[in-house]
Amino acid sequence: MNVPRLLLASLLASAALNAAPLPESQKIDQLLRQDWEKAGMKANPPASDEVLVRRLYLDIAGRIPTLDEAQAYLSSKDPEKRSKLIDTLLASDGYTSHMFNYWADVLRLTDNVKGRITAEAYEEWLKQQVKTNTPYDQFVKNLLTTEGGVWDSGSIGFWQRDENKLDHLAYTVQVFLGTSIVCAQCHNHPFDKWSQMDYYHMAAFTYGMDTKSRGVDFKNKTSKGMALDKKVVQAMSKVDRKAYRDKMQAEKKAEESRLNREDIQQVKRTMQAVMKPLRYTSAEWQEGKLPSLPPDYKYPDAKPGEKVEPKTLFGKEAVIKPGETRLDAFADWMTSPENPRFTTVIANRMWKKAFGVGLIEPVDEMTDSTVASNPALMAYLGQLMIENKYSLKAFLRVLYNTDTYQRAATTHEVPLGETYHFTGPILRRMSAEQIWDSFVTLSKGNVDDTVDDENTRLHQYLDDLSMFLGTIKSKGAEGLVEVAKKGSAKLDANQKKIDEKKARLDAQKEKGMDTTDKAKALAKEANSLRKSTENDILVSLVGKDRAEDLIEGYRPEKTEKEKRPKFDRKALEKMTKEQRIEFLKNYKREGMGLTSRASEQPSPARPGTFLRTFGQSDRELIENASDEASVPQALTLLNGPAADVINNPASKLNQAMAKAGSPAQQIATLYQALLSRAPTSDEQAILDAVIQERGAKAVADVTHALITGSQFLFVQ
């Protein structure tokens, strides 16, 4: 066999293809080479084109390449094809989908929460940021300083994620500054230098974010609230002082004619249920609000219950510029290139994304004694990030274009306790999302254009909410009194009716009649009367159309019922009876629901589904994904509908196989589709024997064997 010669030729060919690399990439290679020399190592062998095309698609676009995509790359003789593919993939919506999954894990973005509308808007916002490659420092700043309603910006979801703002601060510091301070919320940190007071000093920067309000509070505007500090008044000019005093007098007069407490209470009560759609949709910043030390604070430097002023953990102080809030100052401090950890953390995260392991591990437990495994390289990467103005795409582009990235994956695991010298990337299992997205690709081809489809329903509903809140705000308590009185009266009248009916039922029950069904019917009636009164109030406030929309609520059907792939009935006829029954059973049940990428599914997927079985993060804890093998995973691939993706006549793969012709050619296509390569000579020998032995069953055998084989799941 001409294997050695072919191998040599392909090696030379790939070496020649690495034409004109970026100077920044070269610099990284150089820093690594210096480290290898010191350690007495050298680079891994170069990765073949086949390995590289599969890896690039998975690493950047989060899925395997389609047959056509892989073919196009492999057959191209363009010496620049690697860097061109990298650029193409970085610009694709595959990148958007894949990077979205990354940040959703880090930010614990989940739509399985009460404030569903906000979570969905947050997801959309995040995809937007990823797609437009918002500079990372700006991205973080946007997250931190966002406020208002979800219709203003989905990013308020960042604050809505945790009701407890003390906890939220710990996650913020962990994610963006790579520092773990969560222990210090309740006592001085047991392993690091942070005290409980340090924790509260930091929490003082973010404590004023209120996410509980529905955006409006029914309070009388009292003149008290308008009063200015005495010193300020004294310092005013004579003219200003007179104007101020006049204003205060007018207010006091108006106050007398305002609503009494009872009316306000009635408004609150009536509007409570009506305003339910507005829950979890706002984030309001209160500049004056500071945290207090807990009642069991036990250290001598302060007393329990004392208010704590803001102070940064390290680096410079956060200076509040005129017109800025303390939250703005906090965000500036955190995202500044001068912050000792902000840049290192993101550079290290992106390095880990490309190479599988960080220069600093773990990525979010840095202490003063943390040293990168290659300090010169870490410093350069930080510099690179700043030079590229925190453009993640630009930064990643440099990494993917290094000679080192384009080497074969290291063939052995680095044992715990040893330093990894990055002679190439490490071998990684695909993430749950990559596995799912790869099955989608096999079934439907490249569906990147369905990522982040325009969600008109979402925006319509947000618009309704915005208008609703606006109406309530502009009317205020005074404007709503009439509506409230009417609504209240109606509720009372309805209740009276229901009470009468109930009394009659109770009498019947006393006589021994079985009133269970009638009681249920009455309960239903009571409920619908209540709802209709609330709806009437809503209609009187925002008009019929908007009211109907708000009543309908936001319930996106992310189930794949409408999106199920249609199958060719004729192909169905060709199957045996058992195959048909099996096929239809799986198609009805779920058919794996292989219609869209993981980023378009509920976040996270529900327990027991494919994505969760393969270790998708539950998004309750930061980066909680797992890549470990489990028996349910094996069972899914062995007996679940995973192989149906091939059997389904509508699947792209099935269509390609149908075109392929002989069993040998079909199997060759299978290898290209699943592994982006041809069988090795050893494999070919086995395959030839299988075809001989198994005849018509051979193709199905090999399909099943490859899907349950480990190499499909790993990124070489």
């Binding site: 399985n112 437990e365 063939t411 330093t419 009681a519 028996v631 094996a634 055998d701 090999v702 064997a705």
Partner: protein, 432 residues
């Protein structure tokens, strides 16, 4: 100078979590079950311990906040009872709500605790607290009782999961920070059996076996080229999966093996089937099974909604208890009935009851409990007047029945110390 890079003595969060292909269904039994941790006492935890009187637990969770006054926390004659009347039970002097006649026949084996009290009045927080004895925070997921049981005492049947939870709650804490092998199996649908555990109908056994062999052969090059723990794990896991598929104990999940009469006795619906499945699972050696019944969050029209909900509960629960006793299992099976909180003594303007954690009720049957008693009291379901029981106290009573060490500290991957029920103190007087 501490070098946190891959340092072997510093177990980082993710290294800690790395295990080899062993899961709740993994056949390989967890050897090193000796829990990590010092014998150093955890401040405040109970030191009480007994030889286990319960070998297994069936944990019936009423989600949404089960009203106490209309079920087990009745105060006959009080104006807070709503329209609910009480009935006598098989236990002298003990009365429960009229909507639970089947259960009433088994109260001679049960102990009602009417003095539960909590501060967690929201569903998510209350639910989490009841299941774990710790407050819900985003920095960690605590394990629930089934996982602790497996951690301390191992599985009852090596080929089945250590604990099984039959629920629709997608946020159940499950096994929390414990490793994969201690994670419970979560089932949505008890009737469906174990997902993907049977060969597809159209595939013959010989074809199935052939493909397995072929897969291993085609995978060989890759397996030999890469020396990674996880790579090997993905070869080994199939061996474990086959063992599960061929295991006779899988029948435990097959409800069709029960007669039509038995099905009729338990009733229709997910909860009834869940209880039947729970009985089968414990017979096959699963030591902790949770079954969830939802729909208790009756903010409106409670009098109209209770009959159906209580009906579902009563039929399944009554049958389960009778069934366990008939099979001689009730003596060492602890059956638990609980919820996240109770409901307001005052009926609200929508004829319902709202959340009420200040006083509520739970019940324990079998497993060493001295039956026919009521522990703790409220005035009219409003305030606990005698023998306050916190949620950790309640859970530590379950742990005590199982003979678990209440003060043994285990560490999460973030190096935080925990005990099975934090500082809960068991109600030892309940045990006969």
């Amino acid at each position: 100078m501490k070098n946190l890079l891959h340092s072997c003595d510093d177990v980082t969060r993710r290294d800690f979590a790395k295990t080899i292909a062993k899961t709740c269904l993994g056949v390989s039994v967890m050897s090193a079950l000796a829990p990590r941790g010092f014998a150093a006492p955890f401040e405040g935890s109970s030191k009480a311990k007994q030889a286990a009187t319960a070998k297994r637990v069936i944990y019936l969770y009423m989600s949404g906040g089960m009203t106490h006054l209309d079920t087990f926390g009745c105060v006959p004659g009080a104006d807070t009872m709503g329209g609910t009347k009480t009935i006598r039970t098989s236990a002298d002097g003990v009365q429960i709500g009229e909507l639970l006649p089947h259960t009433a026949k088994m109260m001679h084996r049960g102990a009602i605790i009417n003095s539960l009290t909590s501060t967690q009045g929201a569903h998510a927080q209350g639910n989490y607290f009841q299941h774990t004895s710790y407050a819900m925070r985003g920095a960690i997921r605590h394990p629930s009782m089934g996982a602790w049981l497996q951690k301390f005492q191992g599985k009852g049947n090596a080929e089945l999961p250590g604990s099984v939870i039959i629920t629709n709650d997608s946020k159940h804490p499950g096994g929390g920070f414990f490793e994969a092998a201690c994670q419970p199996l979560l089932l949505n649908d008890p009737a469906r059996g174990l997902q993907n555990s049977r060969r597809p109908g159209a595939l013959s056994e010989s074809d199935f076996d052939y493909r397995l062999g072929l897969s291993a052969r085609l995978d060989q090059g890759f397996q030999q080229a890469y020396n990674y723990t996880n790579v090997k794990a993905y070869a080994d896991v199939y061996k474990d999966a086959i063992k599960v598929m061929k295991s006779e104990d899988l029948d435990a999940f097959d409800l069709s093996k029960e007669s039509a009469e038995t099905h009729a006795e338990y009733g229709d619906g997910t909860f009834a089937q869940g209880c039947l499945l729970a009985r089968r699972l414990v017979e096959h050696g699963v030591r902790f099974v949770e079954v969830n019944l939802g729909g208790w969050d009756m903010h409106q029209d409670i009098a109209a909604r209770l009959p159906e909900r209580c009906g579902d509960l009563d039929q399944a629960l009554g049958t389960l208890l009778t069934d366990l006793e008939r099979r001689g299992l009730l003596d060492d099976t602890l059956v638990v009935l609980t919820s996240e909180f109770g409901r307001t003594p005052k009926i609200n303007q929508n004829d319902g009851r709202d959340h009420y954690p200040k006083a509520f009720s739970s019940v324990l049957w079998g497993g060493g409990i001295a039956g026919g008693q009521v522990y703790g009291k409220t005035d009219k379901g409003i305030e606990v007047t005698e023998n306050k029981v916190s949620v950790p106290d309640f859970n530590s009573t379950i742990a005590y029945a199982l003979g678990l060490p209440l003060d043994l500290v285990l560490y999460s991957s973030t190096k935080r110390p925990f005990t099975v029920t934090d500082k809960g103190q068991p109600i030892t007087s309940l045990f006969g």
